[in-house]
């Protein structure tokens, strides 16, 4: 097999072409969003949301309803339960989140492994971009378009809050309101992307590219563009690996995304020590 075959073979089937489009679209938006998720230090919240929506996703599959609707309901239920548990100050938000999310993950697994559940529910956990339909691609494209427009509109206040939350409030920018907007956007992205990238692995697209590129970027705009490009490229690389090694596509995409994190090690932090004098 020569190089041309290696590169072109996956494109010769509709399944392959749809898988490339799915990971490029989802990876592109999740990568860009990841810059803000990491800037707001919401990686743990993102992981919690992604894992906590599993019962909703499984119930939608069991009932034969739209997975996106199940994921959306799951995210809302998870967010409400986490908020409720975190109200008890004796527990602490981190512990409350961990307990709730583990409980939801266990509930989701219980439902998925029940004898009456339809087969192949493991795809909900680990994703299967090779199963992407035309509808999935349309949803991913809509996420990219609408989500990018929202990120464009939120760009300045998000930057002000991420840079200096205390100083942002007197500028008329509420850190709580824009933090909530950020979480809502993240919840929508996770709900859409969990279908293709998997409930357990979607976080790789959100966090890994932004983490990899952070020391090398000079502005939020460039950071988002670079993270989107890296996530899409790593996603495409994952599909190639999956095709040629005959390995699980979702896992290969997630591993390729995480492997991109080594780019961070290429050099030290961009921010040099502050100058001692002007």
């Amino acid at each position: 097999m020569d190089l041309a075959d290696i590169l072109l073979d996956p494109w010769r089937s509709g399944i392959g072409r749809r898988a490339f489009a799915e990971v490029a679209l989802l990876g592109g938006f999740c990568g860009a969003l990841g810059f803000w998720v990491t800037s707001f230090r919401l990686s743990y919240a993102a992981e919690s949301l992604a894992h906590g929506l599993l019962p909703g996703l499984v119930m939608a599959a069991v009932l034969g309803g739209p997975l996106l609707l199940g994921a959306g309901g799951g995210v809302l239920a998870a967010a409400a339960l986490i908020a409720l548990a975190a109200r008890d100050e004796r527990i602490g938000a981190d512990t409350a989140t961990a307990v709730v999310v583990t409980g939801l993950l266990g509930l989701g697994a219980l439902l998925a492994l029940a004898p009456d559940s339809p087969p192949r529910l493991e795809e909900l956990l680990f994703g299967d971009p090779l199963a992407a339909t035309g509808g999935d691609l349309a949803t991913a494209a809509a996420l990219g378009l609408v989500g990018s427009a929202v990120l464009f509109a939120l760009h300045r206040p998000l930057a002000a809050v991420a840079f200096d939350a205390t100083g942002a409030r007197p500028l008329g920018v509420s850190p709580a309101a824009f933090g909530l907007a950020m979480l809502a956007l993240l919840a929508v992205a996770v709900a859409v992307a969990a279908r293709g990238l998997g409930n357990l692995l979607v976080l790789a697209a959100v966090v890994a590219p932004a983490f990899a590129l952070r020391p090398h970027v000079s502005s939020p705009g460039r950071a988002m563009a670079a993270a989107a490009a890296l996530a899409a490229t790593a996603g495409v690389a994952g599909i190639y690996i999956s095709f040629h090694l005959d390995a699980a596509a979702g896992a290969c995409v997630a591993l390729a995304l995480c492997a991109s994190a080594v780019l961070r090690l290429r050099s030290g932090p961009r921010s040099a020590p502050a100058r001692p004098a002007p």
């Binding site: 206040p157 930057a159 942002a168 409030r169 500028l171 000079s218 040099a272 502050a274």
Partner: protein, 248 residues
């Protein structure tokens, strides 16, 4: 002179526990207030309340417009990829229209503000790569663009090189001359004598008034307690150094 910032019977704190109580002061246009107190004395709590971040637990505060709040620059995200010009441009958010990119006129105002703090040549430099004094001046440029009538500065000269300290001091004098009220939290008891008014806090208001009559030995001792080293005492006024250990 019109009053730009005032507090009456103010109590504020966290989780139901008051960090400051019985705070009562006012500053008019063109006045500067040095806010003195030990670590944990309530200086930051007062500023966060004036900035609208904390709700008063009792009493009330009144601030003309939205104040500019300049935190210690180490408390900003130094690793966040923004340039000095980007930070100055954040001041334009106070005008609303946050969903649109900055206009040409906004960029002009931000560049003019950078020129005023003497850092127009650093417009493209990453904020985190500037010295502490330069970063403080960039935050002042953001406040200039915001055009706030009340400025809250949290230890602006802490860790600042002498050249920048001089520049910041001159800028604060200019801002006062423009009719703005400037509140500066500081540990420098001696330096506080240069402000029009001083407000001494130690979990409650110890004293408020003109430095010459307010900074007596009794007031300074009550404010700082064992953190105080007395250098000189002529019976009426006191020269002293507050020994502080910062936690960042």
């Amino acid at each position: 002179m019109s009053t730009l910032v005032e507090a009456h019977g103010l109590a504020a704190g966290y989780g139901g526990a008051a960090a400051i109580e019985r705070v009562e002061f006012a500053a008019a246009a063109g006045q500067s207030v040095g806010v003195l107190g030990p670590n944990g004395g309530g200086k930051t709590t007062l500023f966060r309340t004036l900035a609208g971040e904390l709700e008063p637990m009792a009493g009330r505060v009144s601030v003309a417009g939205r104040p500019a709040y300049l935190v210690q620059t180490e408390r900003t995200r130094l690793d966040f990829p923004v340039s000095a010009l980007d930070v100055a441009l954040m001041g334009t958010l106070a005008g609303g229209r946050w969903w649109l990119p900055p206009r040409r006129a906004d960029r002009g105002r931000a560049r003019a503000a950078l020129a005023r703090v003497g850092l127009e040549h650093e417009a493209g430099t990453a904020f985190g790569e500037l010295s502490g004094g330069q970063r403080q001046r960039i935050l002042l440029a953001r406040a200039l663009v915001q055009d706030a009538r009340v400025l809250l500065l949290d230890e602006p000269l802490s860790g600042v090189d002498p050249a920048s300290a001089e520049r910041v001091g001159a800028l604060l004098a200019e801002l006062r001359a423009e009719g703005r009220a400037v509140l500066v939290s500081t540990h420098d008891v001696e330096g506080a004598r240069s402000y029009d008014l001083v407000l001494c806090l130690h979990r409650r208001q110890v004293a408020f008034g003109a430095p010459a009559t307010t900074l007596t030995r009794a007031v300074v001792e009550e404010t700082y307690g064992s953190e105080l080293v007395v250098l000189e005492d002529d019976g009426r006024a006191v020269r002293a150094v507050a020994v502080q250990h910062h936690e960042h």
